[in-house]
């Protein structure tokens, strides 16, 4: 068949081999660096109301969300369940819902409403029209 997108034919992320236990999926970025550093990841208008967008902060993938109430949140970009793209999820004031299998994760502490692991949350703020994430 035609060429795959990525160079690697097999998954290169540790633990993401098909069928491996979901909680073993160790996506780079789940563990925050010991000393958090602030990174400008984009402009305020990059994240429309209610939606999320993915960025890289200091080599770590993060998803930044702007809720309808104006608040900003940042999480790891890949779902702890099976690596789903969380920036494509849906939000409300309590939870973020992953688009792949619709598990919910609480903004309050990153825990899953369906018991599929926990999200890493990162501090995020808007400064002079820029989005700043601490990783």
């Amino acid at each position: 068949m035609s060429a795959p997108h990525l160079e690697a034919a097999a998954p290169t992320t540790p633990g993401t081999a098909l069928g491996s236990p979901a909680t073993d999926v160790a996506v780079p970025g789940t563990a925050p660096a010991p000393a958090a550093r602030a990174h400008v990841v984009g402009r305020a208008e990059d994240v429309p109301a209610g939606e999320g967008r993915a960025f890289v902060a200091g080599g770590v993938q993060v998803a930044v969300f702007r809720l309808r109430d104006g608040s900003l949140h940042a999480t790891q970009a890949a779902c702890p369940h099976a690596g789903g793209p969380l920036a494509d999820g849906q939000t409300d004031p309590d939870v973020l819902v992953c688009p792949l299998h619709l598990y919910g994760f609480r903004w309050s502490d990153g825990t899953s409403t369906g018991g599929v692991g926990r999200l890493t949350l990162y501090p995020v703020r808007e400064t002079d029209g820029l989005l700043v994430v601490e990783v």
Partner: protein, 843 residues
Amino acid sequence: MGTVLGGRPAGLTTIAVDDELDDARARLVVVGNGMAGARFVEEVLERGGGEQFRVTVFGDEPHGNYNRIMLSPVLAGETHEDDIVLNSHDWYADNGITLRAGVRVERIDTAAKLVYAADGTATAYDHLVLATGSSSFIPPMAGVRREDGGLLPGVYGFRTLDETRDMLAATRRCRRAVVLGGGLLGLEAARALQGHGLAVELVHAMPHLMNAQLDAEAGAILKRSVEALGITVHLDVLATEVLGTDAVEGVLLRDGRRLDCDLLVVAAGVRPHTDVALLSGLEVERGVVVDDQLRTDDPDVYAIGECAQHRGSVYGLVAPAWEHARVLADVLTGTDPTAEYHGSRTATKLKVAGVDVATMGVSAPERDSDEFLVISEPRRGVHLSVVIRDDRLVGATLLGDTRKVAHLTQVFDRGTALPEERIRLLVDLSDGKEEVGVAEMPADSQVCNCNGVTKGAICGAVADGCGSVGAVMDRTRAGKGCGSCKALVKQVVEWAADGEVTEDPAASWYVPGIPLAKPALVAAVRERDLRSVSAVFAALAPGGKEDARSKMALTSLLKTVWGRDFVREKDAEFVNDRVHANIQRDGTFSVVPQMKGGVTTPAQLKRIAEVAEKYEVPMVKVTGGQRIDLLGVRKEDLPAVWDDLGMPSGYAYGKSMRTVKTCVGSDFCRFGLGDSTQLGIDLETRFQGIESPAKMKLAVVGCPRNCAEAYVKDVGVVAVGNGKWEVYVGGAAGATVRKGDLLATVDSPEAVIELTGRFLQYYRENAHWLERTYDFVPRVGLEHLQRVLLEDAEGICADLDAAMQRSVDAYTDPWGQDGRTPATPGQFATSLPLVPLPQVPVR
């Protein structure tokens, strides 16, 4: 075999059909569909294991999973067998589990990782769990078996539903019963049979009853209570021979006595079912030997429940089996890969009305330093004792008065501090303190011991909106074990809900976040002119609160109600609708261009081919919907792909009209009775992209040979000659297979289009969210549809036609629309820029 408990008409094997059947899931096979096996599967699902594992369960019994503990009340006639079903065959189907009920596993090839079953099949596994339980032990007695090895008619073990049914049937013709065994099971059987009017004698080989749980003194008191019920008890004597040639006539005891009977129940203990493990070469002692992670000596084979032997112990109770299930589910799903089982502290209760016995831990002091407190009132049949070691409760026996059992169980389980005056453990001293009521119970006190549910957990479920006792029981599992705590669960629920216990109201809401059923919701949306999802939340949600899980359904509903005047909010759309493509397991998308009626042209095919090459599309596939799918397209490439294709969207991602499949019809087929191809194209042109509560798939065929499967579509049209067309609705051949109902036979393609539009609009306005027509049509009834849509019984046909016309007029091709100017900034920005994820397997 009688009826299958918890069964369904379709047959015993439930083959799982999964939304995203993904062959990459590991194969998890469970042998034994009893209390441990089924609970384990539940625990796995609860941890999201449905995504990780393809689960197959083998069960020797044909029934769904039932509460074996409750066979005692079933035998007593106090509980109906229908009420002890825990997981019906439908439950397995609904959860995507393959249930092979009535199929016995014979052997495992642990090297090839194959399970061989009695029906000749071999099933591959990645992880195997043995949960084969035990079987009744039939002590060696002359004459108990017939030549073929089966039990002599009239002799029963007491372990399965089928045995219980047989015994129940026998009680109608039998007069005298002998029960062998004076343990829990034997006593419960004896009492149950006696309740049916039989004269019952109980024979026990040991010097006192319930010797596993009680000391001699307590056993003697229990004997008097049992005899007071009218059951004759023979102690310290073995039965050596079963009399009778065609059916049981009596038993002979070792001391020469003969007891006449026409029913004999053998409840002389159980033996773990280890034959499969033995034949498979696994280490077996009394049970299948497992380590602290329930693993046998084969790393991929586990054993749980009564068949397992852990640190030398084999348990005959359900609580340890459920602890095994929890630990193993933690380990296998990876929820807690280090979870371990360290043995259980067991507690038992005798389920015999009139004789209250509850025991936990040891029954007598074992060390010099053990404290032992006994209150014995033989005349009243009361005997209470506790054993205390190092200031902790290590055993308790309550006979005849079990009021203190809840408190003692808690102290026993947690090792909480004991009162200085030990006697307070057993009796309430009259110092003014009343027995604690529900209100005073501490939040962490255990209400349901089988499932370890605390008062706090029950209150939490009530606070989370469980408004009925049933809902609380479903959520927390309280009361779903032996059931003896149901009354207490009810009290706690009523207390927590302040008396406001109801049927679950949310069941009737269209979306979880707005407390309105569909008609009221639509009316409110119209009346208050709510055109965007955020306006609906602000006006109708409690506290104006948004709810992520309601957004997609509300977007769809508002589009249906407002058509062109709908105010779109991208965040209220599911990602598929945001980018007009179907998200895939690796975060890429699939692109399915419209190909009306499945008819294409060389030019279209060339363009598709060029696009596939240019964007390195990993797979190009002809779909089951008669068109071509480009799978694995990067999100950021979507607009360019559409641009290069120059074809409209096929809406393969939406809850909307998908395709109209057609056959070649009268133009080419020698049997064609009507131009099905053209009618299909016309239908697809008219209804393209119309959103609805669930997918709508149509087909048109040129004759009843049905080559495009019109009988099994949401709307299926069949040419029957003389210019006539049949219109079928509510058909399906997906997860559910159903032949559509003939709504009407009409005279022209125009009439087909009109009736189809009217039906679809009625469905759009009245169906629940995600309710396909195969559920909707039977729910409202074909006759009702015919009255409303054909005879205009409600006078709404003109409105339906007009509403559909508005939706048709509001159609725009989303690919043409968002491609050049994104609806929001970064609409097509990649959401996973760096990390390579598992890809769609490339062939």
